[in-house]
Every structure is written in structure tokens, then in C-alpha cells.
């Protein structure tokens, strides 16, 4: 079974969200998502300063099997992206919840985070998919 840390929030589209100490949100793709995708070969990240709406596609991950959009879990502004992934997309496979973070968002409002799934909710969502 894939790893689903209990302190994170999740989306049905397999992003995870971490509330950071500075109030910004860190986003990546889940262990389940990376295991389905297989070996990553390319990552396209959003631009810092871009304003995104929750649900918009804002990044792309590409593996030997497929390319997939990554969606913004909440609305806000992209404040930082993980440039290291460009040269080391395999980090998404190796450390999806830590070094494999993709981008950070300054949320436009409050409350959107509460609408996301918790670990149990995400587990249910992926079980329902199978």
C-alpha cells in the first residue's frame, strides 16, 4: 500500500498539500501517483509569480509511460518552485513528500485548505478508483 502521511492534505487528482510555517502551501504529487506513473523523465513547473485558480492545471509530470497535468489544489500565487527537479525528475519517485515538492503557493483566501481531503479521505478516494 502506498504511503499517505497523516499530516498532509490531498486532492482527488493526487496532489498533496503541506501547510508550512510561513503560512504558504507546499504542493507535490503523492506516492500513489508516482508509483502509477513510473519512472519520471521530465517535470514542467509553473512560473514564480503566476496566479492560479484552484483546479487549474499548472504543472506537468512526464514518465516513461505517460504525461500528466498537475493541478493547483487552491487558488493563489506561485511563490517558489523546486528548480532541482529539472535535472533530477527521479526525485519525484524517490522522495515524493519531501525533496520531491513541486511548487509553493500563497493562498488567495482561507478555507480552501479545509475543503481538501485528509489522509483517510484520500485513501478512500484511491480505493474507490480501483
Amino acid at each position: 500500500m502506498s504511503d499517505i502521511p497523516s499530516e498532509l492534505r490531498y486532492t482527488k487528482t493526487h496532489e498533496w498539500v503541506r501547510l508550512m510555517d510561513d503560512g504558504n502551501l507546499e504542493i507535490g504529487i503523492t506516492d500513489h501517483a508516482q508509483s502509477l506513473m513510473g519512472d519520471m523523465v521530465y517535470v514542467e513547473l509553473p512560473e514564480v509569480g503566476a496566479v492560479v485558480v484552484g483546479g487549474d492545471d499548472c504543472a506537468v509530470v512526464e514518465s516513461v509511460k505517460a504525461a500528466s497535468d498537475v493541478y493547483a489544489p487552491v487558488s493563489g500565487e506561485i511563490v517558489e518552485v523546486n528548480e532541482e527537479l529539472a535535472d533530477a525528475p527521479e526525485t519525484l519517485n524517490q522522495h515524493p513528500y519531501t525533496d520531491g515538492w513541486m511548487f509553493r503557493i500563497r493562498a488567495a483566501g482561507e478555507g480552501e485548505l479545509d475543503e481538501l481531503l485528509d489522509a483517510d479521505g484520500y485513501l478512500e478516494a484511491i480505493e474507490a478508483e480501483e
Partner: protein, 485 residues
């Protein structure tokens, strides 16, 4: 070894024949090149051997069963090649006057008519050079249609999540936003989600029927009503036309525009990177927008339709009309098969797929949609195999190469875990199909007894398993004579 590595300075194609310098005296000095061309200097024999060996290293439809799902790798009858290579066809320059090419143009006009009839549309243009360009032309016509009515709010194209990746790519290229429609658990389009998605923003829906899941979309009439009711148009992706050609017509299902892959359904060679042919067909309301040139006929005279005839056309897609040689092969194939034979294509393509599926099911192999009848292709899911043995669909595909079969499509469609998409086509014999099933069942058995052999396959091919990750991350497709410039 690359042909460039066999090159030796001043070697000529025929070594014993007397050397004859070309006369370049008549060419102005400013037009003469200063650098030597980067071409290999090899003998004719070296060139023949080099390419013969390369072709022998390949799996091809002429040497192997090639059940590559969604690609319709059927046999290409030699007669099509023979007649398409008649000197009068081969020697005709595309810019020759219509007066000297009436025979060729009649062939093309008749191909337009055959395709129009068999798809139930009102007109066909043969000009798109490949399936991707056919898709582009199709969606460009949808756009032109809405623009002609000043219906500018329609900015979205709906695409089922099972679609080929080319569909969302095409919609995006045509300036549309893509909205994905989910598939229900039986493999049909989720009608509730479709109803919710359509509206005044809907330009159209792109649908492959039968879908990439290897099942016929049962609610097509209802889907057409929903999309048309919202003011959108229906696009038929002809990728799977082989399953229904001559039996059911996309025009009768309610589609407004269709592209056909002649290199699939009409048996022209493919798999080597082209050239392809992706004609588009349209119903009455899209007729004015067809790409030019196409062939017009009056009283037995054939001529090209131009901008003057078709002021609303989306325009030209290339310098001339399509890939003439490919279109000729498709025309000859259509004549060989005939209108009744076309229905037999669909009959045997689906019979072969359903026979294979039944044998595999009886042997305990998991189907992605066990409750559905297969179309011309079907999906095995190897999820359980992977969980039980660690052997993946990719491993099984690689091991099939050792057994003398081209691998089916794996990991497409993405919806199905450990997906293995098999399309036998109508041109295979029962013996060949049985041989493939036997080989596949042997591999399933091997996966349980000796998984390492399967996981490290292939073992007998000229090249062993490739490092796909390295190939994708460190893309290197060019060979250079000297240092990079």
C-alpha cells in the same frame, strides 16, 4: 554500425565502372556549395546490405504477427503496391496540368466518393497528410463553423478521458480549452458528467467509437443529442474505424466531421514513420469549410477545387493534395475489397478479437471490461499478475518478442492499470492467433515459475532491454560527422 561509419573517402557506388566527373560548368559560381555534403561514401552493395540487415532486425507486418492495439497493423496487399507504382502514376509531377492527369484525378475523385459513402458523410477532402493533420483540419472546421455564425462564446472542446492524447493536443492547437469527460465503470462515456459539462461554451465533442477501451459506445445517439442540443458539433476520431467500416456509418451516428487513418483502415503501409493519410469527411453544414484542394467532377472532367470554388475553406494544408502514393494504395485497396468486402473487414476484425479474448478469459486471464463484447481490440489488465509475481505488462510485452511476436500496446489507455491492448486485425489466420495466445499463456506460467526470465526479457533480439529512462532523459537522436556546430 551506422552507414556513415562505413564511409571511405571517394568511394563510389559502382567501384569498377569508370569514374565520370559530373559537368558543373553551367552552374554559376555563387550557387556552387563550398562545403562537402555530409553524405556517406559507400558502394551500392554496402548500401543494400546495410538497409537489408536493418530491415531484418525489425519486427514488421511482413515477418511477424503485429497486434499493436489501436494501430490496426493489417497486411498491405501487394496488388496495391503494384498498381500504385505504375509508371504513369509514379512519373506524374504534382504540378502537371490537369489535362495530363485525368486518370489520377479520377482515382482520387472516386476515393473521395467511396470514403464519403462508407462513412455516411456528405463530402471528403483527401488533403490531410496524416491522422494528426486530419484531426487538426477537423477541429479547424468546427472552429470555422462557429466563427461563421459569430458564435464566439464556444471556447471548449470536450474530450473523454479514454481518448488518444492527440485529441486534447488537437483541440489545444486549434485554440480551444480542453474539458475532460470521465468514463463510467462499463467503459461508456459518463452521460451525467457530459450533461453537466455541455453548454453555451461547448464547441464540440471529440469521440472515438469504438473507444480506445475496445468497446462500442452504446449511448452514441444520446450523446449526439446532448452535444447538438447544446449547440456543439461531434467529431469522430477514425482511429478505430476498422471495427465498424462497412457496418455502421459515423454519419448515421450523428457525427458532423470525421478523420480517417487510411494507413490503418485502408491498409496503406505504416509503422515506419509515414507517410500517412488522414482524409476528413464532413456533413452538409461543414461542407463549405473542407480543406482544399480536392477533386471536382463535371461531365467526366476532373479539376482541383480552389479558393475560388470554396471561399470559406479552412485553406491548404500542404503544397499539393495529400500523399498521392498512399492515397492511390488506399483507392486500390477499396476497389479490391469492394463495398461488401468492407463489412467483412469489420466482421473478421471483431471475430478475431473476440475469439482471442474468449480463449484468454477461459484460461483465467483478467479482462479490463469482462462484461463487454470486444470490438476489433480488447484490453487485458495485468494488475493481478503484477501483484502476485512482480511481472508487469511491459515485462510480458518484452518477453513476447522472444517468442516471435510483436508486442501489443501497453500502458494505453491510461485508465486501465497494467494495460495490455491487443488488436489482431482481420488479416491474421487462426493458426497465427492461436500461436500468440499459446505464447502469452506460456509467459503467464513463466511469470509464476521463473519471473526473472520474464523481467529481464528480451533475450533473443539484436538489442536487449533498453534503458527507457536514460533514453528519455538524455535524448540523443543525431549523429554528427564533426563536432557540434
Amino acid at each position: 554500425m551506422l552507414i556513415f561509419e562505413q564511409s571511405r573517402r571517394s568511394r563510389r557506388s559502382t567501384s569498377q565502372a569508370p569514374a565520370a566527373e559530373g559537368d558543373i560548368g553551367g552552374i554559376p559560381a555563387n550557387l556552387l556549395r563550398e562545403d562537402e555534403p555530409l553524405l556517406p561514401e559507400v558502394s551500392e552493395l554496402q548500401a543494400v546490405r546495410h538497409y537489408t540487415r536493418l530491415s531484418q532486425r525489425n519486427f514488421s507486418i511482413d515477418s511477424h504477427f503485429y497486434p499493436l492495439g489501436s494501430c490496426t497493423m493489417k497486411y498491405n496487399p501487394r496488388a496495391c503496391n503494384l498498381y500504385a507504382m505504375l509508371p504513369a502514376f509514379l512519373g506524374r509531377h504534382p504540378h502537371a496540368g490537369v489535362g495530363t492527369g485525368q486518370g489520377f484525378m479520377q482515382c482520387m475523385f472516386e476515393l473521395q466518393e467511396i470514403l464519403t459513402d462508407v462513412t455516411g458523410m456528405q463530402g471528403v477532402s483527401l488533403t490531410p497528410l496524416a491522422g494528426a493533420q486530419g484531426e487538426f483540419a477537423g477541429v479547424a472546421m468546427i472552429r470555422a463553423y462557429h466563427e461563421s455564425r459569430a458564435d464566439d462564446e464556444r471556447v471548449e472542446i470536450l474530450v473523454p478521458d479514454a481518448a488518444h492524447g492527440t485529441n486534447p493536443a488537437t483541440a489545444t492547437m486549434c485554440g480551444y480549452k480542453v474539458r475532460e469527460i470521465p468514463t463510467d465503470s462499463n467503459g461508456d462515456v459518463d452521460l451525467a458528467a457530459l450533461r453537466e459539462a455541455v453548454g453555451s461554451r461547448t464547441a464540440g465533442l471529440m469521440l472515438t467509437n469504438p473507444s480506445t477501451l475496445g468497446v462500442f459506445e452504446r449511448h452514441i445517439t444520446e450523446i449526439a443529442q446532448i452535444v447538438h442540443g447544446a449547440g456543439g458539433l461531434l467529431y469522430y476520431d477514425g482511429a478505430n474505424l476498422n471495427a465498424i467500416v462497412g457496418k455502421v456509418r459515423p454519419g448515421d451516428m450523428g457525427f458532423d466531421v470525421i478523420h480517417m487513418n487510411l494507413h490503418k483502415t485502408f491498409s496503406t503501409p505504416h509503422g515506419g514513420g509515414g507517410p500517412g493519410a488522414g482524409p476528413v469527411g464532413v456533413n452538409q453544414r461543414l461542407l463549405p469549410f473542407l480543406p482544399i484542394p480536392y477533386v471536382l467532377e463535371s461531365n467526366g472532367d476532373y479539376r482541383w477545387a480552389t479558393e475560388r470554388d470554396c471561399p470559406h475553406s479552412i485553406g491548404r494544408l500542404s503544397a499539393n493534395m495529400g500523399n498521392a502514393g498512399v492515397l492511390l494504395r488506399a483507392y486500390i485497396y477499396a476497389l479490391l475489397v469492394g463495398r461488401q468486402g468492407m463489412a467483412r473487414i469489420a466482421d473478421f476484425a471483431t471475430l478475431n478479437a473476440n475469439y482471442m479474448m474468449a480463449r484468454l478469459k477461459a484460461a483465467g486471464v483478467d479482462m479490463a471490461y469482462p462484461g463487454r463484447r470486444a470490438t476489433h481490440e480488447f484490453i487485458v489488465t495485468m494488475k493481478r499478475l503484477k501483484e502476485e509475481t512482480g511481472v508487469t505488462a511491459m515485462d510480458v510485452a518484452k518477453r513476447l518478442l522472444d517468442k516471435g511476436f510483436h508486442a501489443p500496446t501497453v500502458y494505453f489507455p491510461l485508465l486501465v492499470p497494467e494495460c495490455f491492448l491487443v488488436e489482431p486485425t482481420e488479416t491474421e489466420s487462426k493458426q497465427e492467433i492461436d500461436g500468440f495466445i499459446d505464447a502469452l499463456l506460456e509467459i503467464f506460467d513463466e511469470a509464476r515459475r521463473d519471473p526473472e526470465t520474464v523481467k529481464s526479457a528480451p533475450h533473443t533480439t539484436p538489442v536487449r532491454r533498453l534503458d527507457e529512462v536514460k533514453a528519455a532523459r538524455e535524448l540523443d537522436v543525431a549523429w554528427r560527422v564533426g563536432p557540434a556546430r
